[in-house]
């Protein structure tokens, strides 16, 4: 009996020290997946024509409609970029998950099953000791399996992920430029027409136009902030994943964990910021 107790004591120490804590990786991947899963800017890009249409003259409509059709055609492919990156980050979070590689519930079932049948001749504390040992061994085995799976995942994923992230940054850039043209179209029209409608008899029209311009300015400024935040977010994710790839064997070191924690915090605050706009 003493031997079992001694073994148990040792194994708990192993359990405590050998247990891989991948919380930082998981948090980082989770927050990042939330950011890349955010498709509002892509949808906004697709819907450009809907918003600009009331401000366009008859002659411009043909050009605008062509662009509209092409943006709509590209939309699904653009969404796929979001989906692939998000799926990757979610898988990373799952690989770093506490329970993803945990089979102790199975071991529990084993000991309950045995305990339910005293006719097997095993006493309860003996069953508990055996199942405790089984848990530690299985956790130890699966934890190293998890570490290896995670490292291989990051190593294989880093290069294509970085390429895709930098491409995504480019896309956000194009969305923002398109957004700027849209805003200049609306602002320019109001500005121009107002300069020809300053006479007292057009006062009501001019007032309404100015109020409309004010509301629109606020709307477009809020959207412009979203593009800036999203770009910052993508850069932070890229930095974080590069940190993981550069420190594959040292993921439990304090400085790596600290940097990762900071990057997660940054991504989280960007997520919050985008949601609040």
């Amino acid at each position: 009996m003493r031997i079992i107790q001694a073994v148990l004591a040792c194994t708990f120490i192993i359990l405590l020290s050998g247990c891989t804590n991948l919380k930082e990786v998981r948090d980082f991947a989770g927050q990042s997946a939330k950011l890349t899963g955010y498709t509002e800017l892509t949808t906004r890009f697709r819907d450009t024509y809907y918003r600009e249409q009331p401000y366009l003259s008859e002659e411009v409509h043909t050009f605008a409609q062509q662009n509209d059709a092409r943006r709509k055609a590209a939309y699904q492919d653009l969404l796929k970029v979001h989906q692939t990156i998000t799926l990757y980050l979610q898988t990373l979070a799952a690989l770093a998950g506490d329970n993803s590689f945990d089979i102790s519930s199975g071991v529990d079932a084993l000991s309950v099953g045995i305990s339910a049948h005293p006719d097997l001749g095993l006493e309860k504390h003996e069953v508990d000791a055996v199942s405790g040992l089984a848990k530690v061994i299985s956790r130890w085995a699966t934890s190293s399996y998890q570490q290896r799976a995670l490292r291989q995942f990051i190593k294989e994923g880093n290069e294509p992920l970085q390429t895709t992230l930098s491409g995504m940054e480019k896309l956000i850039d194009y969305y923002q430029q398109t957004h700027d043209n849209e805003w200049q179209t609306i602002k320019g029209l109001l500005e121009l027409e107002l300069s020809f409608n300053e006479q007292p008899e057009h006062r009501l029209l001019a007032t309404l136009a100015r109020a409309h311009a004010q509301a629109k300015a606020a709307e477009y400024e809020a959207a412009a902030k979203k593009y800036r935040e999203a770009r910052k977010g993508i850069q932070t994710i890229s930095q974080g994943h590069q940190l993981l790839a550069d420190n594959l064997g040292k993921l439990s070191r304090k400085n790596v964990k600290d940097s990762l924690r900071q990057l997660s915090k940054d991504v989280k605050s960007i997520n919050k910021h985008i949601e609040s706009l």
Binding site: F63, I114, S138, P160
Partner: protein
């Protein structure tokens, strides 16, 4: 080659975009100085907007180039994801297998004790385990 094309398209789009900005600035100056009438101003403004639409069209081209350039990276990412999913599945299978072992022990105990109701219940559990292992695979 694709990247060069994308960069070129982007550069032209930005130039057109800037031209439109300059046209607008000039137009508004002329309007303030009363150098153009309303109709002339509207025509110039229309040209400015056409320039903006052309620039937007090029931004779509550039975006399509980016997406086309993704194909290879995306394929590799999906491959990496599917390898990882396979590993997560292996672990699930392992857990299901342990369940099966537990229930087999109960079954053995029930047979040993010769209790028909317990044997039937245990057999039922074993059957469920086998099905869940089949589901995973």
């Amino acid at each position: 080659m694709a990247l060069a094309t994308q960069a070129q398209i982007e550069a032209i789009a930005i130039e057109l975009h800037k031209c439109a900005d300059v046209v607008h600035e000039r137009l508004m100056k002329s309007v303030k100085r009363r150098e153009v009438n309303h109709q002339e101003a509207q025509l110039i403004f229309q040209d400015e907007i056409i320039l903006r639409q052309k620039a937007n069209g090029l931004y779509i081209d550039a975006a399509n180039c980016v997406v086309a350039g993704f194909a290879e990276s995306q394929k590799r990412l999906l491959q990496t994801i599917s390898t990882a999913k396979q590993k997560l599945k292996t672990i699930k299978e392992l857990a299901a297998f342990i369940d099966l072992t537990a229930d087999l022990i109960v079954l053995a105990a029930a047979i040993n004790a010769a209790k028909p109701s317990a044997i039937l219940a245990a057999l039922n559990e074993v059957r469920k385990d086998c099905e869940s292992i089949k589901d995973i695979a």
